[in-house]
Symmetry: C2
Subunit: 243 residues, 2 copies
């Protein structure tokens, strides 16, 4: 059976303007690969209601899972929860269970829960809360859409709360080999190998070091035996390959 | 007049699997911001012909410019040029001008130009070549689609060759202020300010340091006067703000 498919949607003006580098994509990609869920697409869009609605409609239909990052805090630019509710045609309002979580957290801190903080309890009807062990304000899962925070430490904690509840497939394994030849020299042999071993995908990533061309070949498969065969064949064909 | 809009398409199994972090997005985002071209969307998709065709069709229609990164080398997984040609309904084949550039490069190196390397001269009819001062194999511009390499050093060199040929708008400027309060404390005042100054966009990015909550507020505008006003108001409202 094929692995479940997934897309990620990053809501982030600050990434599109070049101010910050996204860290959540790399974290989610690695964790999904371990879990056996295939991340097939990532979109990064700006903090714009219509853009979020359109992307959520499109990606939640196109993949088994959609993971979102960013835009669920208390400020005016935090519009993801409402946009996801609109895209999924679910009513949204302050929900008692989410408010109770926030209240307990702010009580412990001795902080008042004002209107801005109350907004973080806006959760669509029918959604399940995603635990946030760091700053309490929960994420949520609405059908196949998993809505999480953008702050990397909180995103990672939410991914940690969420992934054990999802059914994965076969983890995708990969082996990387470093070859002291440019891509142009190995392309033909590598293409023939890719044809001969359809259960393995071969990626080829050229590099230049000290003025010399080299290539990293990455073989990926969810079938450990096929991957072993691929490595044997690569080493046989390229005796200078370094694991 | 509004700035030109842009999208970026990253062709990259190796990013979706978590093996590598994308570096090209951050570089392009920064350079476009300086140039006055608004990057509104980034998509990362796998090395799959249909997926590339669909994304190129969609994004080249939706934005003034589409920049692509990755998949234009000599190996079997380099399929971007053909997919872009298919999406834009342009014929593609080995082109004499591109082949001449490659031949001159490999002659200097004393390397033979084999079939794999000849593939890098496959350029759609009507496209303009993008100069590659590092490894010769050119990128190309076909109408509003700019096709560039994935290796970061080469991508950056191609962006450097390309951007001076494009007409930009007003550079987007930004100012970042650090405030020693959590988002929940400043959300109301910040929202009011955002309403009062429609020519400035305010982003709010919470952080936790030594157990204390703080917020970075980023004000962005292509109007330097409006941006100055925004900073004055922010400092007035949040006297502890640090530039």
């Amino acid at each position: 059976m094929a692995n479940p498919t997934a897309a990620m949607l990053v809501v982030g003006d600050e990434i599109l303007s070049g101010r910050t580098r996204d860290a959540n994509m790399h974290h989610l990609a690695s964790r999904l690969t371990e879990t056996g869920i295939d991340l097939n697409e990532v979109r990064i869009i700006s903090d714009d209601h219509e853009a979020i609605v359109e992307a959520v409609e499109d990606l939640s239909r196109g993949y088994d899972h959609l993971f979102t990052s960013g835009g669920i805090g208390p400020t005016h630019d935090d519009i993801t929860a409402d946009a996801v509710a609109a895209a999924m045609k679910a009513p949204i309002g302050v929900r008692d269970d989410a408010l109770a979580v926030l209240k307990a957290h702010y009580d412990r801190q001795g902080t008042e829960i004002n209107d801005a903080r109350r907004r973080m309890a806006r959760i669509p009807d029918g959604a399940t809360l995603i635990d946030n062990p760091i700053s309490a304000a929960p994420g949520f899962t609405l059908r196949n859409v998993h809505v999480m925070a953008g702050v990397p430490a909180i995103f990672q904690a939410m991914v940690g709360s969420l992934l054990p509840t999802l059914t994965g497939g076969k983890p995708l394994r990969s082996v990387s080999l470093r070859i002291a030849h440019g891509e142009g020299d190995i392309a033909e042999a590598l293409g023939a190998l890719a044809n001969a071993l359809p259960d393995v995908s071969f990626g080829s990533y050229p590099f230049i070091q000290n003025g010399l061309y080299g290539t990293n070949i990455v073989a990926r498969s969810s079938d450990p035996t096929a991957l072993e065969t691929a490595v044997d064949r690569l080493v046989e064909r390229f005796p200078d390959a370094q694991l």
